[in-house]
Symmetry: D2
Subunit: 309 residues, 4 copies
């Protein structure tokens, strides 16, 4: 476990827990962060898409960041700070810095119509005004912004504050390879996400690890460890075993993931902020069967036994 | 001029003025609001799309609302309070109410995928929790949400807090007529916007007036007065005369409108928040010629002589 | 009137007339094309967005092109030939060439995700395989493809078959100027469209004329003539007078325009292909009043008296 | 194997094979169809999204349908016939019927703005004019049309020609259940697709089987057989084993799938029509490893031994 912003290994994206009245449940967030720290992950990210950041007020953000930082100890906390306005992005970054975060993650906005020069200028200004290292997030499914490899490489090369890339434009493996090639000499970690759906293929293509919300980070840690040891058979075996769970979890909507975290004893409930969808009918029963088939008899509230995966 | 929320006549949408460093220019905002009050408009709306609300932090919003309310006197201030999250929408409404606004304007969000029941439920919850009257904004060009006439009528009928509709789905005239028909007995004012591009046709179709950002509200006031007096020739003559200016102003981007307000002595500058586009090359010269042709020799810093339009 | 593909002046975009059963009404199309030829326009474009080309089978296209070419005499016919597939674009171009068209108009497709290199390659291949001169159409409102000025200039410069640009990305005036500047020495006509909504401003910015569907091309011809004679007062006066009609016509949906062409005695009916919207309730009455106010007592079935505009 | 349009079991969606010059490779298509018939699938679908139907001319479609029908023998061929125009949809259906197809698949178009009444009317008209049974495809990822459960049920109930639903709106399991419930008494098969990504969960939720392009239909046939026999352990085991391959195949772009079909000896090449993307760098090597891990030593050109899965 490292405590500076290396952006490699496993950095879970955290859900934002809510009480039944949709206020931020800081107690659950505290428990969630401590659980991750105890696992030995390389950091956590709060207020990403999974964190329902688009449904939060700035005050909610403050509450969530504070709780996460307080619980994290030496483990770095990265804060999602994307905003359609450049100055407002910097305001969010300043708030994160003030509250003790160690980095921010910033995705570009589709408003106004993006083009390469406009996108570069956005990151240039954000980089110039940021007191924290920045993770450049490339996630067209949520942003509708499609960034080319040369643009990503240009931003990463010319904006010193960029400390890593979170690559989530499918298909990810060829884009990972192309970015690494385009970066040339520049050392920069690229992590992948998307719930680890393409996890094994991403690792094969050189992903530095996972920055995603899969509710069993132990599995991802073991996959990364196997990949680092070049034990591809083991990496693939673990990936295959857990892939049905990965697939089920990454369905649209965050309720399934929140419910698994609830089953792990980390969240008090699975409340999603309206108008986000709650757990759909039938999902709970499917999840029962799926978890039992994948982890028969296992106590989910304990860290999984990594050696036995 | 009425001082309760009648939502009819002319309710200008205000630009949010910024200093060169993009901080909120409260002095210009004060001047802008007082100018509108002196014209005798029926209210003003702040923090709409024209107000660049999507590029503001919550603190920026607070500053702008406070300045507008302080300058407005008895004239009602309506605050744009749209937010993808229902609870966050209510937070924005509560802030507006605390700061002395008289109403809010709320457009629906495209996230998650909207359908009639989900949209209705959003407005039902917002209506239930709001201390202020709500203007339902139907503006698919900015929201990507397409609301049918039966849905609009249902929301307007079953959510008592709805105090008016701002209809901006093109073509507006047939939609205006259809909504009025669908509302049946329910008395509800429907205003139109879109920079008054379809102004004359909207009035013909029964629009209660204009809730839009055209920088010469005097023109719109006179059109509404003519329409109310059934002097359609006069309404059409004024519309035709100012239509080139209306067309030029409603081009994408808010810089042109801000520059006209600057020329009217209301804004200190025409700064648009990044990444919004500033005044494009050549626009200033075209504006010079256009204003000179439309209002030859007129001192723009004074209210226009309405009788002479 | 020139009979090669100069792409300047006025090149009306034609509606595709349909019988009540939605089959192509070649008789009306014949009448429409002959009327335009008699006006002395510089060419006509068929099968654009206004021509409902996206709702036609290839056989329908063949019928419409044949009828237009047969009626056009020496006047050039340009055919919309955009298609998501490159090879299918070339098939459409080959059909147009076989049937006697003098040029084609091609807009890029948003599928798959466009980027500068992919868009360039599309036009490069289309240019290489086309037997006809190509008009590059930049119309993001219908294509969702946003092309930058450097990209447009690169395509225009490196693909010899490009014979003109139809620029319809708002705001058009600054983009027109920027493209002309970026083209440097390359002689290339850029026409504008959008129903002539920004007509006067486009001419000021250097538009070579109008390639659009406004149902009174005589008005546009006179505006272009005035602009060429540097009589900007006259150009502006005509624009202002007809702007309410221009605005009304360019509302979403093609039914209004078809109904005006019907009133002009050119189309037998105003049928729009399903699921396109027909003339909405109330539009006909508004159109009556608007036309009477704009052209009182004029016989619409005759060419307008241009000198008297 | 049944030979009428039951729409259950496994109905592979076929790629459209192309020669290197992008012309339709009917020889490969013949081989592909015969292979499927020999496997005993319940039918095949041509000219879907995977079939690159959006990049084909009507003449290309004719060639592909003819080849598929000729090779299919008694096995039913379903033809993708979606088109933005209602009359053009009927033209495509008529072509399919003339050429011997046994059914068509129709997805709604986003143009013009869809709403429930407009979508219903589209399917009502298509149903009225179609000589063939219709599969209603619900695939918002490609159409941008989001159909609610009540709308789907209404279409299925009131349009007698609807012979099945292909449900591909994620998350699919709850939507499957909701549609079945909403259909009440109406017997109607609902199949799922999306490359079988959610295959096991779809079967649990009552999917009638798979109508998708996964290049190993034998696997899907065995999963369906296991589900029908209520042997859920076997179904899940097969799903888990092949899920990495399923995930890899369903990445955006059809080149990976075409390359697997090439490896199976069915397609002469993996050509994708421009501007579709070809096989990205590195994908071939990843595919080698993945296939070797999933099906070690197996001759892919032979049908898989289903009992041994």
């Amino acid at each position: 476990m490292t405590h500076d912003l290396r952006f490699s290994g496993v950095v879970p994206i955290l859900a934002t827990p809510f009480h039944a009245d949709e206020s931020v449940d800081t107690e659950s967030l505290d428990r969630l962060v401590r659980f991750m720290a105890a696992l030995g992950v390389d950091g956590v990210t709060v207020l990403g898409v999974l964190g329902e950041s688009n449904r939060l007020s700035d005050r909610d953000r403050e509450v969530a960041i504070s709780a996460a930082v307080a619980a994290a100890g030496a483990m770095p906390v990265i804060v999602g700070a994307s905003h359609p306005g450049t100055r407002a992005t910097l305001d969010l970054i300043a708030m994160a810095a003030d509250l003790g975060a160690k980095g921010v993650m910033v995705a570009a906005s589709a408003e106004p119509v993006p083009n390469d020069d406009r996108l570069f200028e956005y990151y240039r200004r954000v980089g110039e005004g940021s007191a924290l290292p920045i993770i450049l997030q490339d996630h067209p499914a949520s942003t509708s912004v499609h960034m080319t490899v040369p643009l990503l490489a240009r931003i990463a090369t010319e904006v010193p504050r960029i400390a890593g890339i979170k690559e989530e434009a499918t298909p990810t493996p060829p884009k990972l390879r192309a970015i690494r090639k385009a970066l040339g000499g520049r050392e920069l970690n690229i992590m992948t996400g998307l719930g680890a759906l393409y996890g094994h293929f991403d690792l094969e293509a050189g992903s530095a690890g996972f920055n995603t919300g899969f509710a069993f980070p132990e599995v991802l840690m073991e996959m990364v460890a196997a990949a680092r040891a070049a034990d591809w058979d083991r990496a693939r075996r673990i990936y295959t075993r857990f892939l049905p769970l990965i697939v089920f979890e990454q369905q649209p909507g965050v309720a399934v993931r929140k419910d698994i975290l609830r089953r792990r004893g980390l969240l008090a409930g699975n409340t999603v902020r309206h108008p986000g969808a709650g757990l759909p009918p039938g999902a709970s029963e499917q999840l029962d069967a799926l978890i039992e088939a994948t982890l028969p008899g296992v106590d989910l509230t304990k860290p999984l036994d990594r050696a036995g995966l």
